[in-house]
């Protein structure tokens, strides 16, 4: 009897605690829908969450988007972006003077200082850029300097004509070179400090591993509690310090979006760069919820050397992959998983990119809104072209076999709710023609390695551009690239497309001096890539963040960088 009472009591508590979980989450979502969340009234400090602990604060060594956000707020280069997303002079007096053949850039610099008060001159740029490409620095983004010509000794053809004039020689015209001048790796670093902390050349990033290092941006790091928080204070030597109202910029270092979302709701944070997927529907109508453009594409990729295509010709394999592309209902994925108004992709180059010739780059390879069930018949024809036997089951579904066997495609992805849901959508779409897709969730690190090494058949992919030019999206598929996950040009499989022409095309784009011709070559390259359907674009990324109603003046670029220095915060 006593046991019975006790077990009943326990059961009641469990029900109660479950109910408590349910009602509390409901409460918070309805809160955010109707009422503005609690506001932080400390107007001199902006409280922000971007991500967890950054790997490197050195602008030459950083590789992550959140690290780039830290860099643009604590360092500044010759150019920067303004709130409308346009390039604007920073340490340059005006936009660079470009020679007629577009290979020589002359930059006149303003007089400015490092945070420790020493002068920042053209020589700082000559040093910083040569240091960025040095082998011992081992910077991932060093390749961005490939457009700059080299001297005989291997150093960059960049000279300081006087303290405030910099001349840069390029190998060929580079329509996006001004954008590079605003990229973190092109920002200056303080030579004395960098060298003092790296006596034997094995610790290139050591100079900025703790708070107190010299920088030249709007803020300098004053306190770093590892894995907890970073506090930046205003740098009075920043060239535009008069416009900076904030005294401090505080970053919460956390990647747990339940915690950061809670901190935002409680008013402990003013800005969060991520919202838990389940909360998006409840906040999407909120004024504090912002969706901004981003240049990038979410896609899935086939390994062109996979066993799946054994026995097919290269055309057949492409037809098979095109069929898969047609079967994927992109609108459904965007509406149910993406949820923030992403655009269904009909090309690999994202919407909004420029063609390097002053025009918007436009391309379309299929009607993205018509993919899915509507395109099943077309997909069936393509599958037949690929050599599959397709049987109509009569109820709108089909059974597809290849050499008498059911087709099963293993799909790999990393652990993430959104990726998993997209995988399930694709799985269902393929089931309509009787193709089985198995979902294999892998550890992040293993996933990256398997993709890179071509140990997969079908995989989740994504690419956010570093600068606004299609070549940044296209060069990753040249066979020399470490990012050529589809293994184009890397496999001897008879079903793989011939790829030397693509590699040559990319080289041609690098060297082309006529920008109209160059834009044409870019289109040719994308046509060639999309012909293979080794990459299947799903949607174009956009970027979400939440910002309190009492904060204005924060802006983001299409590369995901957030500029906090000109934020204006009121008490209510």
């Amino acid at each position: 009897m006593k046991k019975k009472v006790l077990s009943l009591l326990l059961a009641a508590t469990m029900v109660f605690s479950l109910a408590a979980c349910g009602s509390s989450s409901k409460k918070s979502s309805s809160d955010s829908e109707n009422v503005a969340t609690a506001v932080n009234t400390d107007t001199s400090t902006l409280y922000v969450n971007l991500a967890s602990e950054p790997d490197y604060l050195d602008p030459a060594l950083n590789t992550s988007v959140d690290g780039a956000c830290l860099a643009v707020n604590s360092f500044v280069g010759l150019l920067t972006y303004d709130e409308s997303g346009e390039l604007t002079p920073a340490l340059a007096e005006s936009m660079p003077e470009v020679s007629e053949d577009e290979t020589t850039y002359t930059v006149h610099m303003i007089e400015s200082k490092w945070s420790d008060g020493t002068e920042l001159t053209a020589n700082d740029f000559v040093y910083s850029w040569n240091r960025a490409i040095a082998e011992e620095t081992a910077s991932d983004y060093a390749y961005l300097f490939d457009v700059v010509a080299r001297n005989e000794d291997g150093t960059l053809a960049v000279t300081a004509d006087d303290d405030y004039t910099l001349t840069i020689h390029l190998n060929a015209p580079c329509p996006y070179f001004n954008q590079l001048l605003a990229f973190p790796i092109f920002m200056p670093v303080p030579q004395a400090a960098v060298e003092a902390a790296n006596p034997d050349g094995t610790t290139p990033g050591a100079w900025c591993q703790e708070a107190g290092f010299v920088s030249n941006g709007a803020f300098t790091l004053s306190e770093w509690k590892h894995n907890e928080s970073m506090t930046y204070v205003k740098n009075d030597n920043f060239y535009n310090a008069d416009k900076v109202e904030l005294e401090k910029l505080n970053y919460m270092l956390s990647a747990d979006n339940t915690a950061t979302y809670a901190a935002y709701n409680s008013g402990d944070l003013d800005f969060i760069d991520d919202v838990p997927t389940d909360e998006i529907p409840s906040v999407s109508g909120n004024d504090e919820f912002n969706v901004v453009d981003q240049l990038g594409t979410y896609y899935v990729a086939f390994n062109v050397g996979s066993d799946l295509f054994d026995g097919m010709t290269s055309d057949q394999a492409s037809a098979f992959r095109e069929a898969i592309s047609l079967l994927i209902d992109r609108d459904y994925i965007v509406e149910t998983v993406g949820q923030t108004g992403q655009v269904a992709a009909d090309s690999f180059i994202p919407e909004g990119m420029e063609d390097g010739n002053g025009e918007a780059y436009e391309s379309s390879y299929y009607d993205a809104d018509a993919t899915g069930a509507e395109s099943t018949e077309d997909a069936v024809k393509l599958l037949e072209k690929a050599g599959c036997e397709v049987e109509d089951n009569g109820n709108g579904t089909y059974t597809t076999t290849l050499n008498g066997e059911t087709i099963s495609i293993p799909y790999i992805l990393n652990e993430n709710d959104g990726h998993k849901k997209i995988a399930q959508c694709i799985q269902q779409d393929l089931a309509a023609v009787g193709i089985e897709m198995t979902i294999e969730v892998e550890d992040w690190n293993v996933f990256l390695e398997e993709r890179k090494d071509g140990n997969f058949t079908f995989a989740r992919e994504g690419w956010v551009a570093d600068y606004d030019d299609p070549v940044n999206m296209l060069e990753i598929f040249s066979s020399a690239s470490g990012n050529d996950d589809p293994q184009l040009g890397k496999t001897d499989s008879a079903a793989a497309p011939e790829w030397t022409a693509y590699d040559e095309l990319i080289q041609q784009i690098y060297a082309e001096t006529d920008s109209a011709k160059r834009a044409e070559l870019l289109h040719q390259a994308e046509d060639m890539l999309m012909d293979t359907y080794a990459v299947i674009p799903i949607y174009f990324y956009n970027d979400i963040y939440m910002q309190k109603s009492n904060v204005t003046g924060v802006y983001a670029t299409v590369f995901g960088n957030k500029y906090f220095m000109y934020a204006h915060k009121t008490a209510e």
Partner: protein
């Protein structure tokens, strides 16, 4: 000199001999254990080193692939281009000289990083263990003394709940209740981090466990003959419980506390992530995800040392609470 004083002197003499013998036994025992500890740490380090190199993935894998030339430069810098056994020998050679190396992920010196993170985890862990031990013993004793009455029932109910609820559920509930609903504690405050909630979240499970252990062993002790004898001799109830019964009842608690302290000092990734605490727990897990080999090794060896020391201290504490335990066995 009368008989009595001779007896007294002999007795003193005998005791000092016994004590010295005991002391030397203890020292011998400690020496033996330290040697064993070094061997275990060596074994742990070798297993970890070869296992982490055997699993797929590498420290320089990134979404945007590392340039092959850059990768080659980094691998040469950190000796990763050499055969694994050579790497192990090189690593241990450096370690013996006190060089824990730098993180492959951030290039930052590992030793200061570990010590500062350990300080945070230890502060939290020790506070949580103190809370858990005090409340656990008190609640356990109350439950034993009020067996089958309502305080006992209530305690049993909450300890069952405490052992059954996963820490991430408890931590999230605490966050919702105290930070968002009641607004007593900020979710995030970088200047003055509030450790009350993480301490509660960390201590609930060991507290529930200690309560149950204390209750069981207390009941056991209360039924022992010596307690009955003491009771018959008219020892007061309080003295009976706290001096006679509790001392024996604590032995299983100490057994539990030793490894548990080592475990709790190493930090909990879940709780550190939810409450944004830079402790050792999340550092360990992240280092494995990143295949940050040098950090994995350093944290593992550090934790192994901690574990061995905690076990040794537990065993010595045993001896001090239970004279029946002989160091020779």
């Amino acid at each position: 000199m009368n008989k009595r004083s001779i007896y007294k002197r002999n007795n003193k003499f005998m005791r000092s001999i016994l004590e010295r013998e005991c002391e030397s036994k203890l020292l011998k025992y400690i020496g033996k254990r330290v040697l064993l500890a070094i061997v275990s740490i060596l074994i742990v380090s070798a297993i970890t080193f070869f296992a982490m190199n055997a699993i797929p993935g590498g420290p320089f894998n990134k979404e945007k692939a590392t340039d092959p030339a850059v990768q080659a430069e980094l691998e040469a810098r950190y000796n990763l281009d050499k055969p694994v056994p050579t790497q192990y020998v090189l690593y241990m050679g450096k370690l013996i000289h006190g060089d824990w190396g730098v993180s492959l992920k951030t290039g930052r010196e590992i030793w200061p990083d570990i010590t500062s993170k350990f300080a945070v985890s230890a502060k939290l862990g020790i506070s949580a263990m103190i809370v858990a031990t005090i409340f656990g013993i008190v609640l356990g004793s109350i439950a034993a003394l009020t067996r089958n009455k309502w305080p006992d029932r209530l305690i049993v109910f909450f300890t069952t709940l405490g052992t059954a609820m996963p820490s991430f559920v408890l931590a999230t509930l605490l966050l919702l209740l105290f930070c968002l609903q009641l607004k007593w504690i900020p979710v995030y405050n970088s200047a003055n981090p509030n450790y009350v909630l993480p301490i509660i979240a960390l201590s609930v499970y060991p507290m529930a466990y200690i309560t149950r252990l204390t209750k069981t062993s207390m009941l056991d002790a209360l039924n022992q003959d010596y307690v009955r004898t003491a009771k018959a001799k008219g020892v007061s109830r309080l003295k009976l419980i706290f001096v006679h019964a509790l001392r024996n009842a604590l032995i299983p608690v100490i057994t539990y506390l030793g490894p548990q302290i080592a475990y709790i000092l190493t930090g909990s990734m879940v709780i550190e992530n939810i409450f944004t605490i830079g402790g050792l727990g999340s550092a360990f897990v992240t280092s494995i995800t990143n295949r940050d080999y040098t950090t994995i090794m350093a944290v593992t060896i550090f934790l192994a040392i901690l574990m061995v020391v905690a076990n040794l201290i537990t065993d010595i504490c045993y001896k001090l609470t239970d004279p029946r335990i002989d160091f020779n066995n």
